[in-house]
Amino acid sequence: MTAIETRAPVLDSPRVTTAESAVSIRGLTRSFGGPAILNNLDLELEAGSFTVLLGRSGSGKSTLLRTLAGLDTAPAGTVSVPRERAVVFQEPRLLPWKRVWRNVALGLRDGDPRAQASAALDELGLSHRLDAWPLTLSGGEAQRVALARALVRRPKLMLLDEPFAALDALTRMRMQALVAKLWQQHDLTVLLVTHDVDEALLLGDRAVVLIDGQIGADIPINLERPRRHGDPDFIRLRQQLLATLGVDEVAG
């Protein structure tokens, strides 16, 4: 087993050899006692790319994302990630006892934290909720605060762990458009974990399907943006992805 080359700090600050901006994973293996969740996995993410990570439950996609986020501490293999990275989870995970802007500003070291938080919230259309308590927010608002909290750190790598799964359909569509916009306007490499094939095709320019801890399929998505569900290429890719995931859709 090779040593971990690059790990950004979580609680303490170990050695960090920052990669240029893209993600590079070599021979990543991870098991929790049983069979390996991630099995000798190799993956490169190009700087500025939008990669969608698909896979069935238990395929290891969340473990992979957690490793990149620095939350999983004992992988074997080489992982190289930019130090500037941010995570948005399925739940907003805000601190309910801090007002919205303080949640966003948490951990900012230099400059005026409130001004930075305010700018990030403004970009997500939440400038009127700066001083609100998180528990008074709607699900979509709370998730936008979580996005602002990630964005304010000026990350090079944005890790999204099923961030829209708990939202209602309309809010989800709005959030997807918002994330696409943020990706286009900022210099971001995005890795989005999702179950949703449509979401993958709406947002990503590359779909990576994890099967049994390895990359089962790596499919480029070369569709025109903004994307349309009715587009024949969209439908073809959708069927291809579903087949890879083991879902046989009845053609209709």
Binding site: P9, F89, L95, W97, T136
Partner: protein
């Protein structure tokens, strides 16, 4: 601006419509106690009960006034307050220290928790004879007893509170480049605060209970001393005054903790409405 005005006006309206209903409920609540007082006074006035054993409300009020103007009441009240204040203070500080230590570290849990859990099963009031032998009959045994009684609710609740902080929030905070100390200060301790305040309310109640018992054993000042003295001279009216004072003190301190709760936990949904109303009231 416009949206701020609208959101400010709404809670005010709610408060207004709420208050008229609340006033009626309040009035209803006092009906029964007032009725009891009237009947009680009537029974005494018609000599249907022995006023020596059961003084009338008017007699109690007179005796209250007497104690107040002679300065006896305030002097003894102060003595009691000082005991509870110091004892509660020590108990809260120690309970918080142990709770944080045991809550935050496995080492702390191993060293502190089992010991405290064992001591906790002992009714602390049973230690009075021992404390008198150890500390004499002055202030020390009383304060020590109050501190000991107040320590456990704080400790138990804070420990449980720290351990039940949502792991997912801690995890999210750890992706924000916070130091260990910053996570404890910004995430863990605020997360345990609601449970700590529950413990504080219990502790305050136990402090008063302990005071009552401690002052009856051996004291030459305090509300308990006043009451025990009155027993020796068959002054039932003074005993009643003492009991009422105890009740009021318990009530007032409980309200104080509630106010602390409302301020410290303003972020919780149940308090969010109250928070925005405060400006209007």
């Amino acid at each position: 601006m416009a949206s701020a005005a609208v959101s400010a006006a709404r809670p005010q309206q709610r408060a207004a419509s709420f208050n008229s209903g609340a006033f009626l409920t309040q009035a209803h609540r006092f009906t029964m106690p007032v009725l009891i007082l009237i009947v009680w006074q009537a029974l005494d006035s018609f000599h249907l009960i022995n006023s020596r054993l059961m003084p009338s409300p008017v007699m109690v009020a007179e005796s209250f006034w007497q104690l107040l103007v002679t300065g006896q009441l305030l002097g003894n009240l102060w003595a009691s307050l000082v005991r509870v204040g110091i004892g509660l203070g020590i108990g809260v500080v120690l309970g918080t220290g142990f709770g944080v230590f045991a809550g935050l570290s496995r080492l702390g849990e191993d060293t502190v928790d089992s010991t405290l859990q064992m001591v906790r099963t002992l009714p602390h009031l049973a230690l009075i004879p021992l404390f008198i032998l150890w500390f004499g009959i002055g202030e020390t045994p009383k304060i020590a007893l109050i501190a000991l009684g107040a320590l456990f609710p704080i400790y138990l609740n804070l420990f449980a509170g720290i351990r039940s902080v949502d792991r997912k929030i801690i995890e999210a905070a750890s992706t924000l480049n916070l130091t260990h100390a910053e996570i404890i200060w910004n995430v863990v301790l605020p997360g345990a605060l609601p449970q700590f305040l529950v413990g504080l309310r219990y502790s305050v109640g136990i402090a008063w209970l302990t005071l009552v018992v401690a002052e009856q054993v051996n004291a030459n000042s305090g509300i308990g001393y006043l009451v025990m003295n009155a027993r020796d001279f068959l002054e039932t009216d003074v005993i009643f005054v003492g009991l009422i004072i105890y009740a009021l003190l318990g009530l007032i301190t409980d309200q104080m903790v509630r106010i602390i709760e409302r301020r410290a936990l303003a972020w919780r949904p149940s308090f969010v409405g109250t928070q925005s109303n405060r400006g209007a009231l």
